[in-house]
């Protein structure tokens, strides 16, 4: 394919591609995101391809591999369009049936349909599933429609028309004006106004301006950016192109974790394809605008998601943050003005330019506009990627979309914003998700991780877990973060192992404050959030750990004691056999030696008469 010489050439190419796609009668869309690949979707895809070939349906049926749809719980997923029939948990042996019955005769296979765990009804169409119904999938819905490895799909679906609009109809200032009117804020966590950042970068003097896409997503349980980059890399590229045009940059980088191999290969492929068509490189679409993108792979340090550490790493140095009294928009990569935005922010740009700022700003709250993707994980029925309008309440996300608690348990808290975020109790679930509301409640939006916990979680242990993550990921440069987090972890470990004192609790609060004000970068400054938010809402659990030496949720092994109720015991001896510590003593009746007991809980599980309980 030769380079596209101008907007008209792109339009005629688009028409040609649309006609090609319209020639198919049916489309089988299979999710090939990382989660579905882990559920062995690739053999299913191969079987499907072979079956379509052998049945001689190649000209009628278009098989499309897409990125993540978000409903990872139910993968591998297959959708047959135009009817929109969704099949879940598709296995290789289901393929001949799907081709023979559904593709040939339009018959629905009931066994493969999604069954709503709340109502127990089978649901045929994707759009009727409660998980999808309550969402507003502006970014994610494209993942399902496009093959991430083909630029033709993206162009046929109207891709790069926002770039054309920006290049031909708008001046750089007008592009920034449009983004400003939309109220878009950075999706990486900070929530800084995107337009303001662009404006500052554009105005900053320098030899060369850079734009960078931050895809160094490292929060445990979060994979929004991964899915966007894997599923729709061209939208990120188009966003970067528009941003570069507005800022006056001619070079860009995508900084992506090396642990995301699929994202790395998809964005590389996308860059190659865009270059071939002349959408990247010199004189893009026949205009004077030049821009090219390179991929840089991160070495797996969480701290490299921080802007200055990311740029240090990009320059080839050690990925350590520096003081940010002079911001990266003025002095960033190679000491030149650099604009860094998160994957999701970039992906929003083409939509805003195409549909207008008003369309984007119509969704959301006073200060937080548009939609936001969350990675809903933990103790809920439906886990996966969720895209909702800003201002949707936590209640709606956890119960209407997530389907509520598993196995009739009670949801206790939700952890938002990744390891640097905080835990919010069920009483606060009326909160709308919006930057200010979450911060005021002691948590944060972060990049959008959302871990739901039911009453089997111990909040002291949860705080310790997240702090341990930050302890491992701290770069070690500044004292408050390296030593402060270490000491906080030491105190929390004392609590969970039954050595805590009330004085330590005061020390912990004092120290958490010091770390939050004294640290060099945002990793340190927010590392106190897991501690402070759990202390704010679950102080009684801390006190139970310290004063009563008791873990209310029974998670902290050192604080857990088991007893055998002699009245209920049927003297079967099963626990005696099962105990790996030989802590169960057999004399006239069975009893547990607390000195020997390690609190593994095997005896409780094995007891036929529920005579063993945790106290």
């Amino acid at each position: 394919m030769p380079r596209l010489q101008g907007p008209a050439a792109l339009e005629s190419y688009r028409e040609k591609l649309k006609d090609q796609l319209a020639s198919y009668e049916l489309t089988v869309t299979m999710c090939a995101g990382t989660a579905c690949r882990a559920c062995s979707c690739l053999p299913v895809v191969e079987a499907m391809s072979a079956e379509i070939e052998s049945q001689g349906l190649r000209d009628k049926v278009h098989l499309r591999l897409t990125g993540c749809h978000g409903f990872c719980e139910q993968g591998p997923l297959a959708i047959i369009d135009p009817a929109g029939i969704l099949y879940c948990h598709v296995r290789e042996e289901d393929v001949p049936g799907i081709v023979a019955r559904t593709i040939r005769h339009g018959e629905v296979i009931d066994e493969l349909l999604y069954v709503d765990p709340v109502s127990g009804n089978a649901v045929m169409q994707e759009s009727e599933i409660p998980f999808y119904k309550a969402q507003d999938r502006r970014l994610l819905s494209n993942n399902r429609r496009l093959s991430p490895t083909s630029i033709t799909d993206y162009i046929a679906a109207g891709g790069y028309s926002a770039l054309v609009k920006a290049l031909t109809e708008l001046s750089p200032e007008q592009v920034i004006g449009e983004i400003k009117a939309s109220g878009l804020r950075g999706r990486g966590g900070g929530g800084y106004l995107t337009a303001r950042k662009w404006e500052q970068c554009r105005r900053a003097p320098g030899k060369q301006h850079f734009v960078i896409c931050n895809a160094d997503e490292g929060d445990p349980g979060a994979y929004m950016d991964r899915s966007l980059l894997e599923g729709n890399p061209h939208s990120v590229l188009e966003g970067m192109l528009i941003g570069a045009y507005a800022i006056g940059a001619d070079a860009g980088y995508v900084y992506v974790r090396n642990e995301y191999p699929l994202a790395v290969s998809h964005i590389r492929e996308a860059i190659e394809q865009a270059r071939e068509l002349g959408l990247l490189g010199g004189e893009i679409l026949g205009t004077e605008f030049c821009f090219d993108v390179k991929v840089a792979r991160g070495g797996g340090a969480f701290v490299c998601g921080e802007s200055t550490a990311l740029m240090a790493s990009l320059e080839g140095g050690v990925g350590e943050p520096r003081a940010k009294d002079v911001h990266t928009v003025a002095r960033g990569y190679l000491d030149q003005p650099t604009n860094l935005n998160n994957v999701e922010t970039w992906a929003n740009i083409p939509q805003i330019i195409s549909n207008g700022a008003a369309w984007f700003a119509a969704q959301g709250t006073e200060q937080s506009k548009g939609t936001k993707i969350f990675a809903l994980t933990g103790h809920v029925k439906n886990t996966g990627l969720v895209e909702v309008a800003m201002g949707t309440s936590l209640q709606q996300i956890i119960f209407d979309i997530g389907g509520g608690p598993q196995d009739g348990k009670k949801i206790k808290a939700v952890q938002t914003g990744g390891p640097s975020g905080g835990c919010l109790p069920a009483a606060e679930f009326g909160l709308p998700v919006d930057y200010e509301a979450l911060s005021a409640a002691g948590s944060m939006m972060g990049s959008g991780g959302m871990v739901v916990m039911d009453d089997s979680a111990c909040m002291v242990d949860v705080a310790r877990y997240f702090l341990n993550f930050l302890h491992d990921e701290s770069c070690g440069k500044c004292v408050p973060c390296r030593l402060g987090v270490d000491r906080m972890l030491e105190i929390l470990t004392d609590f969970t192992e039954g050595r805590g004192t009330m004085e330590q609790l005061d020390t912990l609060k004092d120290l958490a404050w010091t770390v939050s004000v004294g640290s060099l970068c945002a990793l340190g400054k927010t590392s106190c959030n897991p501690v402070l938010s759990t202390l704010r809402y679950f102080e009684d659990e801390y006190i139970a750990h310290i004063q009563e030496r008791r873990c209310p949720a029974g998670v902290c092994k050192a604080l857990t004691r088991y007893v055998i109720d002699a009245d209920l015991c049927v003297q079967c001896g099963a626990c005696y056999e099962a105990c790996p510590q030989v802590a169960i003593i057999d004399d006239s009746h069975y009893w547990i030696d607390v000195e020997l007991c390690k609190g593994c809980g095997l005896c409780v599980e094995i007891c036929p008469s529920d005579a063993i309980s945790r106290v």
Partner: protein
């Protein structure tokens, strides 16, 4: 000639070249901001955070290290406000618990009024101030020392743990190390915490924020001593 700007530190109006390091400006003007990792003439890294100050911008107060802060016209800095003193004390307490046997850390603790540590003492030595690493790189162009590892595993080491040929055995790394100052012979009140310098503490407290080139500053290798060329290499 650099543009001169006016900044305010603890209420004192000071003229300084634009972009000058606020910590050095304050020290030159006689305002004592305790510091540890800073060395005049060497790139500041803001690692020890002892020199934190508050930058006041109307209602907004942000805490940041003064060694990495560049002077801008009209900047208002508070180096001894309540929150700054509290945070500085807590940071020094962390350092003290890490390396209690160091004279420099003991002096620093005395200077900011830390007389006990709430954390169990560890018998560490290096507090990762990076003075040796930076002087080796920037003054001697040798890069014979570097930081290795991340977080709790961070430590100073030679490349591949062997002395490289580039090392000139100049001993600068040892001279600038805050751990190598000969400790005073005084008694220790608690394990590792020196008590001899109480008179010094009183003096610093009475005189307020005026730098009197106190012995404590020589002990913790305060940048003021180095600025005046008074810290004779031993």
């Amino acid at each position: 000639m650099a543009n001169m700007v006016t900044i305010t530190v603890d209420g004192a109006t000071i003229q300084a070249p634009e972009g000058a390091i606020v910590l050095e400006v304050a020290l030159e003007a006689g305002i004592c901001i305790p510091n540890l990792c800073h060395m005049p003439g060497i790139t500041p890294i803001g690692a020890c955070r002892v020199c934190i100050v508050e930058v006041v911008d109307g209602e907004r107060r942000t805490m940041t290290a003064s060694c990495t802060l560049e002077a801008k016209d009209g900047m208002v800095v508070e180096a001894h406000s309540g929150p700054v003193l509290r945070a500085r004390r807590n940071i020094v307490e962390l350092l003290l618990a890490e390396a209690p046997n160091s004279r420099a850390i003991q002096d620093l603790a005395a200077r900011v009024g830390v007389t006990a540590s709430r954390y169990p003492m560890r018998n560490g030595n290096c507090v990762m101030c990076g003075r040796c690493v930076r002087i080796c790189d920037e003054v001697w162009q040798s890069k014979s020392l570097g930081f290795v590892g991340r977080g709790g595993e961070r430590h100073v080491a030679l490349p591949f743990n062997t002395r490289p040929d580039l090392c000139k055995r100049c001993n600068s790394c040892i001279e600038v190390c805050p751990m190598t100052i000969t400790p005073c012979p005084g008694p220790m009140t608690e394990p590792g915490i020196c008590s001899l310098c109480e008179s010094q503490v009183t003096m610093v407290e009475n005189i307020g924020d005026t730098c009197v080139l106190c012995e404590l500053g020589r002990g913790f290798q305060c940048a003021q001593w180095q600025l005046r060329g008074l810290l004779a290499p031993t």
